[in-house]
Amino acid sequence: MPLIRNFPFFCIMLSMICGISSAMLPGKIARKVTVVLAAVVAALNTALLVHLMQAGESYHYLMGHFPAPWGNEIRIGPLEALLCVLFSIVLMFSALGGMYRLKRQVDPKKENTVCVMLDLVLAGTLSMLYTNDLFTGYVFIEIMTLASCALIMCRQNGRTMVSAMRYMIMSLLGSGMTLMAIMLTYTLTGHLLIENIREAVTALYVSGQYRAPLTVTIGLFFVGLGIKSALFPFHTWLADAYGYSTPAASATLSSIVSKAYILLLMKIFVRMIGMDVVRGLHLNDLLFVFGIIAMIMGSLSAMHSHDLRRMVAYSSVAQIGYIYAGMGMGIEAGLVAAVYHIMIHSAAKSSLFISSSELADVSSGSKRFSDLRGAGKRSPLAGVCFTISAMSLVGVPVLGGFISKLVFSEAAFQYGGIHMWVMLLALALSTLLNVLYLMKTVITLYRPARDGMEYTVEKPDTAGVCAMVGFVVLNVLLGVLSQPILTVIRTGLQLFA
């Protein structure tokens, strides 16, 4: 096996080892380790992506001496490699951009523990993307759940404690449902390996045996992972968890952790159960309906909030709705749109979180809109970063959000029927709402400051500047390079299924 095919294994083990060693390192070095680790993972996966696109194939990698149904195994294709590249870059910039505030908001002796959590979140994301085994997926769900809780509460004040508690309860409920679903799957099929389950499930579906348990299993997977990825009716933990934790934590949680759960769900639906079976049981309509409701309700909640960070948090609910609606169409074009939207949202949301905390900093630490007036002038870079990512989410041409909305509508046209009209209407309405609350914020940032207010403006730290410049470039690149990225996603999805 060529060395390059060992890279996914290297990435997982490297991030686990870095996470474990960070517990022993002083905070300053641990932070650097996290950033370098993310950069290395991004580089390795880029090489792998190029290699896999040239070869045009995906492959299995044994984790040990025993072949798949007996031993552990991971599976890597272009789609997984692409997403790993993006997530590690986003993690790197989030860690960079959040560093300065991490220093102020976290007890200096516990800073390294936060880095442990960030490293392990990366490890968990990589493993969840690569895994070809349901149980391995579950183990890393557990790691991610605990690490996310720790990330929320690392800034120790009353609000983060309450929100971490709430997150913990909801998230454990989700994990429990997922575990139940895994047990049911194992009982019905006798396998944990994804390909074997696919065979068994298809056979079960064709024979019509165990129809009800099968439906309940799929439903449990959907609700369990839906709770964990903040799908609309299960999103109540989200605003507090993202709104009050340190910016690095909110950026990581919103753009990496929740996306990893969605991708695991996608893996389960597309590869493990098969979209034909899901469509046959009409469960994809469930995803579609929930997604459409989330698209509207998320934006409405975002409009109601008076706090910048909470608004950005609520807007995640709407964007996650897009992703679920895309998946719910159950056709390849819908999945392509969903994956592309995951990428766009991941880049834009993390940059919104990082830049909004910078903007709050130059407004005497307040996140209320009335105090944020003129913040874009006081911190020009953060203003530009916020504007670009907000524009990307709204769907201004050239930027990613526009392309993603285009891909969504194409998928809707391809699907036809009532779904098409619902999707198009929801897209239009949601875009309108996005414009209302995001552009209102952008305008607020550039309005003259309130009379008589004096703000102390510190020079932004170098790491923060790097992160924000990086985010701007990333957001623009995702839009400009949309065609190659979409090609990779299409190839990847064909190899994925």
């Binding site: 096996m1 060992n6 294994f9 083990m13 686990m16 080892i17 996470g19 474990i20 060693s21 517990a23 022993m24 990698y61 044994l62 984790m63 040990g64 001496h65 025993f66 149904p69 007996w70 031993g71 552990n72 007890d107 002796k109 516990k110 523990t113 936060v114 442990v116 959590m117 392990l120 490890a123 493993s127 085994d133 149980f135 391995t136 183990v139 890393f140 557990e142 790691i143 605990l146 690490a147 809780c149 720790a150 509460m153 690392c154 120790q156 139940m180 049911l184 194992y186 009982t187 019905l188 099929t189 006798g190 396998h191 068994a200 165990y210 009800a212 348990p213 309940v216 299993t217």
Partner: protein, 336 residues
């Protein structure tokens, strides 16, 4: 303004500018502080009367409104809240019942437990049982399964324990000011601990003196013989952790601190996890690239056999023990 208008509408009409009513319009124009207001200049007396009437009307409406609001408020506070609570509970109970029904129906329809032709009795379990001994060298099939066939999952599980310990550390560990001086929070926790926990209890100490060595020894046996019989790192580690906690309860932090401190905890956990990661990385790498790992399996049944399973069991045991002990001490006084 008609009588049959709702109270709310009338109030709105007064508070906002009501453009339908010319008198109001004039009044609004007049009450602004413009000195050359037409009305004020032409008929100061009429203006004053109109203004007084307006004020009076506003006042009555305001009291009326307040009364209504307060009645509503108290209703919501007393009865409404009760009803809402009751409705909420009822919905929650119904919802749970629906879910329970769904899940129970599912369970009833599952393949019968232990039947021969269940889907779970397939080639996977068959190979574990038939070839397990030969391939892993472990007499205990479970050890062979979790630490050799599926060692990656178990590495993940050990990391879950590590993450949990780290999270509790992050939440509960009280920090020192400098390296020597305890912080006020630590002193308070220390006092609390002294106050509430038994100190120098003769019966407990005697029992611990007899039991702790036996417990620790048994724990070590369970860990070390994990590949030969029932046991392994997870169960043995839990036993050893319980032994440590008993010792701590009997003899207090100072005596335990002579051999197990925060530093020990950190180093043991770190070294155990690192050993696991490095050993298994080597084995995974060899396996994936189809290389011979050169790790001897030994004679099944001997204590030094079954390749990496013994060292891995020791690592897992150490991690479990440390995590249990750390949970106990952190929840008790936020430090070790």
């Amino acid at each position: 303004m008609k009588k049959n208008d709702s109270l709310w509408q009338r109030l709105c009409a007064l508070d906002e500018v009501s453009w339908e009513n010319p008198l109001d319009q004039q009044l609004t124009a007049a009450t602004t502080d413009e000195p050359d207001s037409e009305l004020r200049r032409r008929a100061p007396l009429e203006f004053a009367i109109a203004e007084a009437q307006h004020e009076e009307m506003r006042e009555t409406l305001y009291t009326e409104e307040q009364l209504k609001v307060s009645t509503l408020h108290s209703w919501v506070g007393r009865k409404g809240k009760k009803w809402l609570d009751a409705a909420y509970r009822l919905t929650a109970i119904l919802f749970c019942l629906v879910i329970v029904t769904f899940l129970m129906t599912t369970v009833v329809q599952l393949p019968p437990f232990g039947a021969v032709d269940n889907p779970t009795n397939n080639e996977v379990a068959q190979r574990y049982l038939e070839k397990g001994l030969e391939e892993t060298g472990a007499v205990n099939m479970v050890a062979g399964m979790i630490l050799d066939y599926r060692a990656f999952d178990t590495f993940g599980e050990s990391t879950v324990l590590f993450v949990a310990a780290c999270s509790v550390l992050l939440l509960l560990k009280l920090g020192e000011h400098s390296d020597d001086e305890p912080s006020p929070a630590m002193l308070e926790a220390e006092w609390d601990d002294r106050h509430h926990e038994p100190k120098n209890d003769a019966i407990l100490q005697m029992a611990a003196r007899i039991l702790v060595p036996i417990i620790l020894l048994f724990g070590m046996y369970v860990v070390l013989a994990g590949h030969l019989g029932p046991g392994g790192g997870f169960s043995g580690g839990a036993v050893m952790g319980a032994g440590l906690i008993l010792y701590l309860n009997a003899f207090g932090f100072q005596k335990t601190g002579r051999f197990f401190t925060y530093k020990t905890f950190r180093w043991v956990t770190f070294l155990a996890l690192m050993t696991y990661a490095l050993l298994k990385s080597y084995s995974f790498f060899c396996g994936a690239n189809h290389l011979e790992s050169g790790i001897p399996l030994g004679t099944p049944g001997a204590i030094l056999s079954s390749g990496l399973i013994l060292p891995l069991n020791i690592c897992v045991g150490m991690i479990v023990m440390c995590t249990m002990y750390a949970f106990y001490t952190l929840f008790r006084k936020g430090g070790m």
